[in-house]
Structure formats: structure tokens, C-alpha cells
Amino acid sequence: MTSNALSRIFSALADPTRRDMVARLSAGDATVNQLAEPYQLTLQAIYKHLKVLEDAGVVSRPPGPQPRTVRLEAEVFDLMDKWIERYRRQAEERYRRLDAVLARMNDETGNDSQEQKGSVA
């Protein structure tokens, strides 16, 4: 069940048009017509994309006066940010280990050149 929810988010965001819609919604809510504007797509196709995003819980269309606006579910977006930040932190941890390896390499070459100086003197 939970991994289904996760795969739905992944596949919802796998499509470039839907990614673009999500990026635009991050700037603010929009009506379906506003969302459809930049694309060479029928309104029907736009609704289809929206349905995928809605089913995945990425966007919602809260009930209200017509035309209803589409809203980004901020939690899902935050989740993406968290994934990226965690990935970055793991890389940073890895690179700190690399710092240590490089520092030791520096020490070794440092000692080598000191020894050389010593032998010259």
C-alpha cells in the first residue's frame, strides 16, 4: 500500500508536462484553463494529467466557487526537497571521508619532501 503510494508519486512526476505543471503550481494556485495555456494540448489531455497528479496526492482541487483552482500539495513537494537534502548530506559525509583520505595523502607527500630537504641539508 505505502509503496504503491510512493510509486504513484514517482510515475506522476515522471512525465515532463506534469513536472512542468507542478513547477508552475509551486508559484501559486491556478485554474485548469490557466494551467492549460502554455501547452499545445486539448483540455481533455490536461484533465488527464491532472487526474494522475490528483490520484498521486501531488495536487488537489479543493471545492469552492467555479472555476476551481488547482493547488500543489506542499507536503509532497517538501518530501522531494527532503529526499534531495538527504542525498546531499550523504554525499557530504562521503566527501568528508574523502577530505580525510586526501589530508593523509598530503601528509605523506609533506613528509617525503621534508625528508628530501633533510637529506639535501
Binding site: L6, R19, W83, I84, M105
Partner: protein
């Protein structure tokens, strides 16, 4: 000692790519060695809490590599090819053996900043956004269980 800015990351919205960069107090030659000498490489590649054993390592253009990371008796194998190995640039494929059909293309290059400092640039290209995002979400594939536990919690308590 110079302070080093932390790793920067970018998940490209147009192509399924993850880009990162990080500065090091080292020369490009040293960074190259740390990436191509199997003994040095195994010391830092991690992930943390795991032991990495390099099984196969031919860091030359056209060569191949394989290493196994172990945690709590569980083994995770990774392998790929060295497509191009040059002093300033390494291009290689990367596969987690648990998902052999998903092959990422990694490019890394070393930018000499002078005064013994080098900026490491890395770029990983996956074959789909779905794959890229799953990759990001799991941290590093290996961390799937650990990473998903938190996510499952969020899904379960309705945060997502």
C-alpha cells in the same frame, strides 16, 4: 586550514540528472588518485556504516569495476565500466546489482582552482525521471529500507 563549503546539489527539472559539486584542499592529481586507486577509493566511498570491498578494478578507459558493500551481513554489489579515464575526467557506468536494468551514467571532472584546491563536479544521468527520483528518495539504493521507513511513517500518518 581553509574552510570548505558543503556539497551543492541540483536535480535538473528538464533531464533526469543529479549534479553535485564540492571543493577540496587537494590537487586534481590527488583527487584523481583517490578515485582511481582501489585502496584509497574503498576508504571513503562508504556509505557510512558499511564496509566496502573492491572486487574488480581496472581504472582505465574501457576497464570495469565491481565493489561490494556489507552491513549486518547483508551484501550490496555495485558494478560498471570505466568508459573514459583521464587525469581531468572520469566517465563510468553505475549499476546496483539488485536492479541490474537500471544503469546510471556518471561523469566527474576536476576543476583546478589553484593554490592546491580543486572543485569536483559530478553528474549522474539516469534513464528516467522515475528512476532518478526513486534514486534520490532512497538516498543511495542501499539505504532503501532505512529511507523508506521514514517515508512509510509519513505516508501512514497522513503527512503525504
Amino acid at each position: 586550514m581553509n574552510t570548505i563549503a558543503e556539497t551543492t546539489i541540483e536535480a535538473d527539472p528538464k533531464v533526469p540528472v543529479i549534479r553535485m559539486s564540492r571543493d577540496f584542499n587537494a590537487t586534481p592529481e590527488q583527487l584523481f588518485r583517490a578515485h582511481t586507486d582501489p585502496e584509497l577509493f574503498a576508504r571513503w566511498i562508504g556509505p557510512s556504516g558499511m564496509q566496502t570491498r573492491v572486487v574488480e578494478w581496472d581504472a582505465r578507459t574501457g576497464g570495469s569495476w565491481r565493489y561490494v558493500s556489507t552491513r549486518d551481513g547483508q551484501e550490496y554489489g555495485f558494478r560498471g565500466c570505466f568508459h573514459e579515464v583521464r587525469p581531468d575526467r572520469i566517465v563510468q557506468t553505475f549499476t546496483w546489482e539488485g536492479q541490474p536494468d537500471e544503469v546510471a551514467l556518471g561523469t566527474l571532472w576536476f576543476e583546478d582552482l589553484g593554490n592546491g584546491r580543486t572543485r569536483l563536479h559530478t553528474q549522474s544521468l539516469t534513464d528516467s525521471f522515475e528512476g532518478r527520483d526513486a534514486w534520490l528518495a532512497s538516498g543511495m539504493k542501499v539505504g532503501v529500507d532505512e529511507g523508506y521507513a521514514k517515508l512509510e511513517e509519513m505516508l501512514a500518518n497522513g503527512t503525504v
